[in-house]
């Protein structure tokens, strides 16, 4: 409380990285003049062992209770120096860093004086804040060594199998009565004689043989409480005759693999459902399946077509008013793969492909080349083709941009390569798990590039097409990747969370609820107390310390530990007023 504030300031040379531009000695001398600064020193590499030792000694000798290091970005070495404080018996959060490398020497190499002045200002700000720092403790929570997998498509199956093989209990919840999801409809896969069903079966067999796997078919997740390490889940299982059963689960992590729905064209979109000669790619794959209605025979509208037109980007790339703006990624390759299989079986068939942009990326380019060589004729459109069903045939017409002519082709049947849309359950799951989704309606990953299988909420992972279109191989890989992330949690007995999070001062909170609406991590709820008063509550396991709530809180009741209003204001004042 009223203990005297004793601050040590340490200015790093970072070799020549800082000292080459900033006059380090001058900064040290300046730091000594700042109030509460007891000791100020410089060293060539503060992060090195001797640098760290120096700080530790000073903490003991000068009875320091705050430390400021002026060096590189805190992203680089803040954890290092916090460790130093901890080792010296000081709370690690009584530490503040001034970034005089990235912010001074690296950006102002040509103006040494100004860079030095700026370094002094940054140190002054850091000291001003350090004075107001408070000790904080890491937040810990026990972990349940089990994982919930929502969705029994290939991604969910792969994740389940990986985790049970890794030795964890996995609860696999599938809405339908069978496992496998959309993959079972894919028919024979490219470059192999395997079918989607074969892939599913090989995974399911291994899962069923493992006692750690607990499969709930005809089941849906009803409710999820808790947070990373300790989710409490209620699953409802339909038992037939309208009966239901509720199952309570307790897991440390959740994998969401709810897949996708094939885009369903509107009635009349490319003639869909106005004639039996127009089918979707998924319907065609079903027709071609050995277990399909025609036992694998190519029959569309009752006849064996002699000519087929494929229209790509159905439901994708904004081709029609109903279509989504994104690319569904797998339809080009899936169409060409199917065409090649058809050509193999019926070499005399004429195939026309109306496409907007051929996206056989990577090695799949091969499918495109093979299709061309098999005399599949490609018509490149910009505006969606028109499909006019006639008596005996269907006329597909489009403006081919490569010859700048309209082309009308009478064909026996039309196949619409329909894309993927978020599964119907996405919205429900999203709200239940408090995870985000993007403008495209798919679930949002924590970082598009580097954290593609993690949700913004800790402990929840995303696999397969739930986050966006993928082919079967990519979905399976993401299943394993999500399993790996889940494993990093459930291997631990206890997880620790940084204490730099938002906290509510209950004496000041009026329960207005503005913070709860804004929290991007769904970490804030409004609790109604016994006296009927509303109070905001932060779930410390969910809070990421982004500060949104603290910034918006109209009454100042919400404060961000480590970045409290008074701490930040002190820095602002120090910036402009000087000391």
């Amino acid at each position: 409380m009223s203990e005297e504030i004793r601050i040590g300031v340490y200015v790093c040379h970072c070799g020549l990285n800082i000292a080459g531009v900033v006059n380090v000695k001058e900064v040290v001398e300046y730091a000594k003049t700042l109030p509460n600064v007891v000791v100020a020193k410089d060293y060539v590499f503060m992060c090195s062992a001797p640098g760290q030792a120096m700080i530790k000694e000073d903490i003991k000798e000068h009875k320091l209770n705050r430390v400021v290091v002026a060096a590189c970005s805190p992203a680089m070495h803040e954890p290092t120096f916090r460790g130093v404080l901890g080792d010296a018996g000081l709370n690690p959060y009584l530490f503040e860093m001034a970034n005089i490398r990235e912010h001074c020497s690296w950006v102002h190499p040509d103006d040494k004086e100004a860079a030095t002045e700026k370094a002094k200002e940054l140190v002054r700000m850091a000291v001003a804040k350090a004075r107001l720092l408070e000790p904080l403790e890491k937040i810990k929570s026990a972990v349940r060594p089990a994982v919930l997998v929502i969705g029994g498509g290939v991604a969910g199956l792969r994740a389940t199998l990986d985790l049970v093989e890794r030795g964890f209990d996995v609860y696999l919840v599938e809405k339908r009565s069978v496992l496998g999801g959309n993959a079972v409809k894919l028919g024979e896969l490219a470059y192999t004689t395997l079918t989607g069903k074969d892939v599913v079966n090989s995974l399911v067999e291994k899962i069923k043989a493992n006692p750690k796997a607990h499969i709930f078919l005809n089941s849906e997740v009803e409710k999820v409480d808790g947070s990373i390490g300790d989710f409490r889940v209620t699953v409802t299982r339909r038992l037939g005759e309208g009966k239901e059963e509720k199952i309570e689960l307790n897991v440390g992590a959740i994998i969401v693999a709810i897949g996708y729905d094939p885009y369903e064209p509107a009635i009349g979109e490319y003639g869909y459902k106005t004639t039996d000669k127009v089918v979707t790619l998924f319907q065609l794959m079903d027709i071609l399946s050995e277990e399909g209605p025609t036992k694998g025979e190519l029959l569309i509208g009752g006849i064996r077509p002699k000519s087929l037109a494929f229209i790509l980007c159905v439901g994708s790339l904004s081709t029609t008013p109903n279509a989504k703006p994104y690319c569904s990624r797998m339809c080009c390759s899936a169409s060409l793969k199917t065409i090649l299989k058809i050509k193999e079986k019926y070499p005399d068939i004429d195939v026309y492909v109306f496409y907007k942009d051929m996206r056989t990326y990577g090695k799949e380019e091969d499918l495109y080349w093979k299709a061309i060589e098999n005399e599949v004729k490609f018509i490149r459109f910009d505006e969606a083709p028109s499909v006019k069903p006639r008596d005996k045939f269907v006329e597909v017409e489009a403006f081919d941009t490569t010859i700048q002519e309209r082309i009308a082709i009478p064909v026996d049947a039309v196949v619409l390569a329909n894309g993927m849309v978020p599964a119907t359950d996405t919205e429900k799951i999203r709200i239940m798990l408090k995870i985000g989704c993007g403008a495209d309606g798919f679930l949002k990953e924590a970082h598009l590039k580097l954290r593609p299988v993690e949700a913004l909420t800790d402990g929840i992972f995303l696999a397969g097409v739930a986050t966006g279109p993928k082919n079967i191989i990519e979905s399976i890989a993401s299943g394993s990747a999500a399993a790996a992330k889940a494993a990093t949690i459930v291997t631990k007995e206890e997880i620790e969370v940084e204490p730099l999070i938002a906290r509510v001062n209950e004496d000041m909170c009026s329960g207005c609820g503005i913070c709860a609406a804004l929290c991007p991590y769904e970490a804030i709820t409004i609790e109604v107390k016994e006296d009927g008063k509303r109070i905001s509550k932060v779930n410390s396991m969910l809070c990421k310390g982004c500060g949104t709530c603290a910034a918006a809180c109209p009454s100042g009741a919400m404060q961000q530990s480590g970045f409290k209003d008074n701490q930040v204001m002190a820095q602002v004042v120090a910036t402009f007023r000087g000391e």
Binding site: E373, I403, I407
Partner: protein, 378 residues
């Protein structure tokens, strides 16, 4: 602006094109490298890529209307640069063959190009027929001196007139058909004054016909250009010489004769040029020494062989004639005729040699279209 084109003849066009030499037609993915690589693109407006696309889709009307194949002189640059190894050079050659078929109203070209048996049979029949006619209608066989005119007259003269007339007529009709195809697919329907037709004709046809200038622009063009000129001028000189000597002069006055020595020098040197040109071409084709000669359609062989045989027998006839060997002269002459007749009757209106006429006319029609489009630009 854009009309609807019905895609016709599924499969048939492409199989014809493949048998006409478009081996790698179904490799092209429409990148446009060929057009951009062509040294002639800077001079003429044509999209070779589009020609390939027409071929892939089997748009036969479009192919017949497209000047692009005729603007290509097969230098091979596009084939070398093509990232898909589609060999546009060969596709364009096949498209030229296909166009010849399309232009020919008699349907003869089609059979000639698509059936080797038909091709060889028609040559054989014509050769035998020629031999028979010579045998039946030959003049007196004078053995004390060489008197070819006595031996051949009046057979040759009559045949000359018939062949010249009929073939010219067929060729003209074909060129007219080519014109109709071109205009039918033109995107602008406006009309041009007759004066433009005439002015452009005068500007384009004689110049390009006589100089084959576009070919000189081809990369490494000099060598092929030389061979081409040897063949062209060899043929042209003999043709003119023959018409002068056997048709025009006798028609004007039976007493008019060319100077025998000058005539013989002209004739012999033209034959030598033809022999040299065709030998080099045959050698090149056997060796497949460049992209141009990598692929030879059967009709290419027939043409070049007939030309070579015609030239050799023509030269031999002259040599025997000037050496004063009557019988060898008559026999060689007969054999010469047995090659000349099929060469002229088959190749000029129905097959490869028609390109002599189609190329400059394609340029001409293309130019007319360009003018039309400029004038009626929307």
């Amino acid at each position: 602006m854009s009309r609807t084109v019905a895609l016709l003849l599924k499969g048939e066009v492409s199989s014809i094109l493949k048998s006409l030499g478009a081996r790698n037609l179904y490799k092209c993915y429409q990148c446009g490298t060929c057009t951009a690589a062509c040294p002639l693109s800077e001079e003429v407006t044509a999209s070779f890529r589009k020609a390939v696309k027409y071929a892939q889709l089997g748009l036969e009307e479009k192919i017949a209307a497209d000047p692009a194949p005729w603007l290509c002189y097969a230098c091979g640059e596009c084939s070398e640069m093509c990232p898909k190894d589609a060999k546009p050079t060969e596709i364009l050659a096949a498209l030229r063959r296909y166009s010849i078929i399309k232009y020919d109203w008699t349907g003869f070209s089609k059979r000639f190009y698509l059936s080797k048996t038909f091709e060889l049979m028609s040559i054989a029949i014509l050769s035998i027929l020629t031999a028979l006619i010579v045998y039946l209608f030959k003049g007196p066989v004078i053995t004390e001196r060489v008197d070819l005119s006595a031996f051949a007259q009046p057979t040759v003269a009559i045949a000359n007139i018939i062949v010249f007339g009929v073939l010219s007529l067929i060729l003209l009709i074909n060129i007219y058909r080519m014109y109709k195809f071109t205009t039918s697919q033109s995107s602008s329907s406006g009309k041009l004054p007759v004066s433009t037709y005439i002015a452009e004709f005068i500007k384009i046809i004689p110049y390009h016909f006589l100089t084959q200038r576009l070919m000189a622009r081809c990369r490494d063009g000099k060598y092929y250009y030389t061979i081409h000129l040897l063949l062209f001028y060899g043929y042209a000189v003999i043709f003119v010489h023959h018409i002068l000597r056997h048709m025009l002069l006798p028609l004007i006055s039976p007493t008019l004769h060319l100077n025998e020595v000058a005539s013989s020098i002209v004739g012999i040197s033209a034959f030598v040029a033809l022999i040299l040109g065709s030998s080099l071409a045959i050698y090149g084709r056997i060796k497949k020494s460049t992209i141009i000669w990598e692929y030879s359609h059967p009709t290419d062989w027939v043409f070049i062989t007939l030309l070579w045989l015609t030239s050799i027998t023509g030269l031999l006839t002259d040599i025997f004639k000037y050496s004063g060997l009557p019988l060898p002269t008559y026999v060689t002459f007969t054999v010469h005729l047995m090659f000349v007749v099929p060469l002229l009757v088959l190749e000029v209106p129905f097959a490869k040699w028609s390109h002599l006429a189609y190329r400059p006319f394609a340029l001409y029609f293309n130019r007319l279209n360009e003018i039309k489009q400029l004038r009626y630009k929307t």
